[in-house]
Symmetry: C2
Subunit: 455 residues, 2 copies
């Protein structure tokens, strides 16, 4: 009995010691992020001195150049590039569309080609087939679709508190719509933008391309113009006239950019990152300049505080999340080839808004371990949510090679994210400095906790 009591007392004592030292260290992390933070200026530089950066572009290569320079400037133990093949698609210079009613009245509408679409080879005019959802389209006869341009108009469901749930629900019209419409003989597809607000910004994004299906021009219409289109369609049959000269080029060579602090157990690795590429509009500020700024700053903070990691800590600026995820896949393949041992990975790819906690992908023990050790973040650092959930696209391929690892995604206030996502509006000015800095601190704090408490 005495021994049991002693054990309990020691356990409590040691738990409280740990918690106290965690809390003290994490307080330093927050102080550094909030008082001496460099994330905001780094993001400004990436957005304003480089700009948007789709793979294959000069800007994507400048982003690699910048990322490597910046990581080197911080004096980490290792900084290196990891070569990958990336797709190269360009929007071109022509992108316009008009609705035309039966009386010949016409209205110019705001469109963006979906990323990976083919062009129209000049001005394309077709009858417009108005369909509410992808499910409705699938129920139609091919004959009704043949030769028409299909409009898919599923809107964001405002009732979901988490906007990512709405994105998941109506996202299929972008992800699958192009191949479904093409398979049914459509001449093109336009979709209502996957945006949560009624405004004039169309939202681009990728879609699945099926081998053996003749590709058709695909574009997104702003939500405000989609409302107008649906309104016009109540009174008249509509045609659409559109021109896009986007096109594919040969694959290009690009790079993941990696910075590392070597740990005492150097062969066990904790990685985290965001993606360095972006869509080819706006400045890729929230998506995912913020994740890049978070990730670099997390490693900088740990280094500046003189932290000596147990495991090897790696910040990865993944290339090509947006259209292929070859950066994430390449990183995972290379890790496996090199016989590395990956025990944990984190991702930030949900914008630079207020961080709320982490979503955790792992087994029950791992989830409990993260939850237990996150109590200090709940108690002292205004982070709230640590639940089982999705981590992130870039780090997911690691899980295929290391099924036993734990993965975490930084959970962020999602209310405004889909006002900016994949649009011209996603610029530096849409990111708040303090919210960005709190995200950096949250990432650094969680890396620290994992490094301390994972075996």
């Amino acid at each position: 009995m005495k021994n049991i009591l002693l054990t309990i007392v020691l356990a409590l004592f040691s738990a409280s010691m740990f918690a106290q030292s965690d809390s003290a260290f994490i307080r330093k992390v927050y102080d550094e992020a909030l008082e001496n933070g460099e994330s905001y200026e780094n993001l400004r530089y990436l957005c304003k001195n480089i700009g948007n950066r789709i793979t294959g572009s000069a800007e994507a290569e400048m982003a690699v150049y910048w990322g490597k320079q910046l990581l080197e400037s911080y004096g980490f133990d290792k900084v290196f590039l990891q070569e990958i093949n990336v797709p190269h698609w360009e929007r071109g210079t022509k992108e316009a569309a008009w609705l035309v009613d039966e009386q010949g009245k016409f209205l110019k509408i705001n469109i963006l080609a979906l990323g990976g679409s083919v062009g129209t080879s000049g001005l394309l005019e077709k009858n417009l087939l108005i369909v509410k959802t992808l499910g409705d389209l699938k129920k139609l006869d091919k004959a009704d679709v043949l030769g028409k341009i299909v409009y898919l108009g599923e809107a964001f469901d405002a009732k979901n508190i988490r906007t990512f749930d709405s994105y998941g629900q109506c996202g299929a019209q972008r992800w699958e719509g192009p191949s479904v419409a093409a398979n049914m003989g459509a001449s093109g597809l336009v979709i209502r933008s996957l945006g949560s607000e009624i405004d004039d910004y169309p939202h681009t994004g990728s879609f699945g391309r099926e081998d053996g299906v003749q590709p058709i021009p695909c574009a997104a219409i702003s939500t405000a113009d989609s409302d107008k289109l649906e309104d016009w369609a109540k009174r008249s049959k509509l045609k659409i006239r559109m021109e896009m000269d986007c096109r594919w080029y040969d694959d290009a060579i690009s790079y993941n950019v990696i910075g590392e602090m070597t740990g005492k157990k150097s062969d066990e690795i904790i990685s985290w990152g965001g993606h360095l590429d972006s869509w080819d509009v706006g400045e890729g500020a929230h998506d995912d300049g913020a994740g890049i700024a978070h990730s670099i700053e997390a490693l900088r903070i740990l280094k500046v505080l003189g932290y000596r990691p147990n495991h090897t800590l790696r910040c990865v600026l993944f290339m090509n999340e947006e259209n292929g995820n070859f950066g994430g896949k390449g990183y995972a393949e290379q890790a496996f080839k090199d016989g590395e041992k990956h025990i944990a990975a984190l991702e930030s790819d949900r914008g630079g808004f207020l961080p709320l906690g982490f979503d955790i992908e792992g087994n029950e023990n791992q989830i409990s371990l993260v939850q237990d050790n996150s109590k200090v973040l709940q108690k002292h650092f205004q982070l709230y949510t640590f639940k089982a959930g999705y981590s992130g696209v870039d780090i997911h391929p690691l899980k295929e090679y290391y099924p036993d690892m734990v993965q975490l995604g930084l959970a962020i206030n999602s209310q405004l994210y889909f006002n900016y996502h994949h649009t011209e509006a996603d610029v530096f000015e849409a990111v708040n400095q303090r919210e960005l800095e709190l995200g950096c601190a949250a990432m650094a704090a969680m890396v620290y906790l994992l490094d301390q408490h994972l075996n």
Copy 2:
């Protein structure tokens, strides 16, 4: 034993029934707020069709007129005005200041008279005494202060995660600075704005006025100009030239605006509100148009859902929070005079950003009761924090008359609040529709939970 088991089973069953019915009802609350919400258009109307609304202004009276009309349009059981005396101060038309160095080089700086300041009677030129904090000022000899204009330059501490903590820390330079400086013989006071961001917007606000102390002109300087001032002061003694023609008028008559749904126990009252007045710059959108929009919408939602309250539910649009709190005091006095029984009150006065939960003022049992019944909000409705904490200025006077009541303040993401607070930047466009709507739903949900579970 059987009886005990039965009791436990029944208790569990009934708790789960409650929770289930709470969850189902609150889901309807959120659906109504997010899909059919009127809060955003109400806020637009208040901001754009009325504007800022300090007591004594025509706009404040238009806000009363609007509030009563709007509450009446919703068909609540009672809508009534409650007369109160309010102060009447006006900024006037002259407000300018220049720094002047020893070489006569000068710089126009952005200032706002603090609310309640006296004017300068023309152009006032004085030597500037640079002091970092109010504590430092108090340590000086009166002879060093006499005849000078004091500059108090305590900045927001970026290290506090909650910006309200920083406001509390450096706030004394506004609240107490004017009377301390006047008592020491200063000819005026200028302070670094109580703002979290470096920008060109000065932040006004109220301060304590001591009887028998000759008032002096007091103004806030934008944080960007405060940085410049502190920089110039390193190289040169400085003078300041300033003119303000703000002044006091006789008290005016104004009103709290109250809407009520009468409960089954009609003599027990749950009140909630925000404040209808604002400072005389910007549009009072976050402070506190958002709280007004939250409060009205909460009652509208309960009414539209056909909710039959147990207690009498009252939405109060308090007048005069900003410079006197005579609305809050008047409401409490009247309640006590009328022999009303107030069991709970809620306030929203921290902006229209993402709601995170509620801060609770009450005894341990009340805090536990709120926490227990809020689990449904944590589980299903992305609210996170339910801790002991400050409720709000408007409802606080009630606590003096009803010390046994429980009071709650809507807790909101505070990161951006002090970029807008009491400035020209606090306009409708700074409020996001979904975040505002989530605040409305949180208020309605908490009113419902209190009405259901408070005895």
